[in-house]
């Protein structure tokens, strides 16, 4: 594993994870001791179960981008943040962080109750690696922002929780980090301070700070982030523009367990990355994420239909889920990933609507269970000589040149006669 300091050899990448996994051993007794160890010599017990908090996570974040990390409790969000902030080491994989990282995982972590607010500002700064002189420059702004001028020489044990949090928040936003990691800490103090806090974060973002923001509130993530990733059971199941990922997450929350649903449909490239445009004539991969009831949903049908800009139904295909044998995603056996590949997409440039429909063979034909659409732009070096709905693989051919050459002398011979 490699961490990089100030230098940025990889251009404008702020954070990059490559195949990062983290394993924990579940210790059934939380406190180990020599006593347990000796007892264990006499009466051996199991080594403790293994548990993968994160599995094979890869994503990258450019400087100045803000990334939301969504997922339910236990999805691995906190572990991910701890890996990025170096509190934990990955079991395998590589993490590259370019720049000074600051984590707001818990406000006021590291405050000592007996010390004054002033001493705690300096102590907290030095925990993040800032010298006394650097902190002295920021000191007045920190105190003014936290609105604690009158109490700054009082030991923080006498502070109210709100004062404590305000000081912690103020220190964090004034340290000018390159990368700021926030774990739902904005429920700080009163409404007025909250507004101020959000504004401070917006200012940091405007000044080019890279932000990683964890929340299980999709609304907050939508407001602050350009992009988002979605974690489920320790795996990255979605990565893309914030609106799409937040919508996916909301659907995931709403989906009733036991009911089949389409969680997401999108166009991807061969490596599984989301694409917003595909060149005409290349392969189009359509990835559908499904929730399948525990019964297996054997008789369910999955239909993929393609429509052009004008609503013309270009193509449709239906497959039985039972025949697909889709690989499971994450540890959740109910979530399945299906990929439909259309070879050498023969469609002229247009806005292609891809509809995925889950259907149930009912008494009167097919009942629609769920449907999700996505759009993808079909692009091509379209010349004036091509038109129509389709872009067919074609070639112009003259009569073979050698045949023409063979014919010519004969003509000449004839002319000579």
């Amino acid at each position: 594993m490699r961490r990089l300091g100030g230098a940025a050899p990889r251009g404008d990448i702020a954070v990059e994870l490559r195949g990062v996994s983290r394993r924990f051993r579940l210790h059934h007794e939380t406190r180990t001791s020599f006593q347990d160890w000796f007892i264990g010599l006499v009466r051996p017990r199991g080594k403790g179960e293994e548990f993968w908090a994160l599995r094979d996570i890869s994503f990258s974040l450019r400087r100045g981008e803000s990334l939301g990390i969504l997922g339910r409790n236990g999805a691995g969000k906190s572990t991910l943040l701890k890996l990025i902030t170096r509190v934990l080491e990955p079991t395998s994989g590589e993490i590259i962080v370019n720049g000074r990282t600051l984590a707001m995982l818990e406000l006021g972590a590291g405050f000592h109750p007996e010390l004054s607010g002033r001493d705690n500002v300096y102590l907290n700064g030095s925990i993040y690696g800032y010298s006394r002189r650097q902190m002295a420059e920021k000191f007045d702004r920190i105190v003014a922002f936290a609105e604690l001028e009158r109490f700054i020489d009082t030991p923080v044990k006498h502070y109210s929780l709100g004062m404590f949090m305000r000081l912690g928040f103020s220190i964090a936003v004034h340290l000018d980090p390159d990368i700021l990691v926030i774990d739902e800490v904005l429920s700080v103090g009163d409404a007025a301070f909250q507004r101020k806090g959000y504004q401070a974060l917006r200012d940091l973002k405007a000044n080019g700070t890279t932000i990683l923001f964890v929340s299980h509130w999709p609304e907050l993530v939508r407001e602050f982030c350009d992009r988002a990733i979605l974690l489920q059971e320790g795996r990255l199941i979605d990565n893309g523009p914030v609106d799409a990922v937040a919508a996916h997450y909301e659907r995931m929350l709403q989906a009733q367990p036991g009911e089949a649903a389409i969680l997401r449909v999108r166009a991807v490239d061969a490596a599984g990355r989301v694409v917003e445009a595909v060149p005409s004539g290349r392969d189009l991969r359509i990835e559908v994420l499904l929730r399948v009831p525990p019964s297996g949903g054997g008789d369910l049908l999955l239909a993929i239909d393609l429509y052009d800009r004008d609503g013309n139904h270009l193509f449709g295909s239906t497959g039985r889920l039972a025949d697909l044998g889709a690989p499971t995603v994450g540890e959740d056996p109910a979530t399945r990933r299906v990929c439909a590949v259309i070879h050498q997409l023969p469609v002229a440039p247009t806005t292609l609507t891809i509809a995925a429909t889950l259907q149930h063979p009912g008494a009167t034909g097919l009942d629609e269970v769920d449907r999700q659409d996505t759009e993808v732009e079909v692009i091509a070096p379209w010349s004036v000589r091509e038109r129509g709905l389709l872009r067919l693989d074609h070639a112009w051919e003259w009569e073979p040149a050698d045949a023409a050459a063979d014919a010519l002398p004969e003509l000449r011979v004839e002319a000579e006669r």
Partner: protein
């Protein structure tokens, strides 16, 4: 290893602030608080003096100075080892929230307890003056001994602090161990009273025996410390520090999981 050294330099203000925090909290920001911190070794001095000169009729001259020259550095050792052992566990909430070189926690404990010891030395000088003990230029060698002791104590806490994370009863064993160590170190007795063949072994396996005897040579006897002996003690401390550092880095890797 080089990059870790650079990192520790980068975090020099954390070391300073951690030491300052320890001292401020211990002294509660008052002079009386500082005097209070000396109470423990001074009271022990009174007790030992009473026991050995009154109850046991021990003829060692100026017994209070004799015992205090060893009690003060021992007090450093016992506070540093006890607090150093729990330094990682005590700061678990911080370690789990923020990245910083964790090695600085046990190291800062050795430094702050060491500062407390150095600040207490004038009290010892006062007793030396009261009992008319000789003040020689060899007192200038004290910083060398302080450095050797600091290196040795760092080596010890670098092993015990992470061990206490994996085995939480380490701190209990350390408490018992410190009592045993106290009796095995020539503090309320002189190394010269020890059976000769055992005294040699005491020096070999207990660096504190050597360090305490050196302090006593300088501050109680007012004589010259043997440079070769001091150098050997220093070399032992350095070798132990390397071992302690290697053990710490090894144990540090999975620390986050156990805190």
């Amino acid at each position: 290893m080089a990059s870790q050294a650079i990192e520790i330099v980068q975090y020099h203000s954390l070391v300073r602030n951690l030491v300052a925090k320890d001292l401020k909290v211990r002294y509660k920001n008052s002079v009386l608080g500082f005097v209070w911190s000396l109470l423990h070794p001074l009271l022990l001095m009174v007790v030992f003096t009473f026991v050995f000169t009154q109850l046991l009729d021990q003829r060692q001259e100026d017994f209070p100075v004799f015992v205090l020259t060893a009690l003060l550095p021992w007090h450093w050792t016992s506070t540093a080892v006890a607090a150093g052992t729990t330094s990682l566990v005590d700061n678990a909430p911080l370690i789990n929230k923020v990245y910083f070189p964790r090695i600085l926690l046990p190291v800062s404990v050795v430094l702050s307890t060491g500062a407390n010891y150095v600040l207490g030395l004038p009290a010892l000088f006062l007793f030396m003056a009261l009992f008319d003990r000789p003040f020689t230029p060899w007192l200038l060698a004290i910083p060398v001994l302080v450095l050797i002791q600091a290196i040795f104590l760092t080596a010890v806490v670098l092993v015990l602090a992470p061990l206490n994370v994996y085995f939480r009863d380490t701190s209990v064993l350390v408490e018992v161990g410190l009592t045993a160590w106290f009796f095995m170190t020539p503090i309320f007795y002189s190394i010269e009273w020890v059976v000769p063949h055992l005294a040699a072994w005491m020096y070999r396996i207990n660096p504190m025996a050597a360090i305490v005897s050196e302090y006593r040579v300088i501050m109680y006897s007012g004589s010259v410390p043997d440079p070769l002996f001091t150098a050997r003690t220093g070399a032992t401390a350095l070798a132990l520090l390397v071992v302690g550092y290697l053990i710490f880095t090894r144990l540090n890797r999975n620390l986050g999981e156990h805190l």
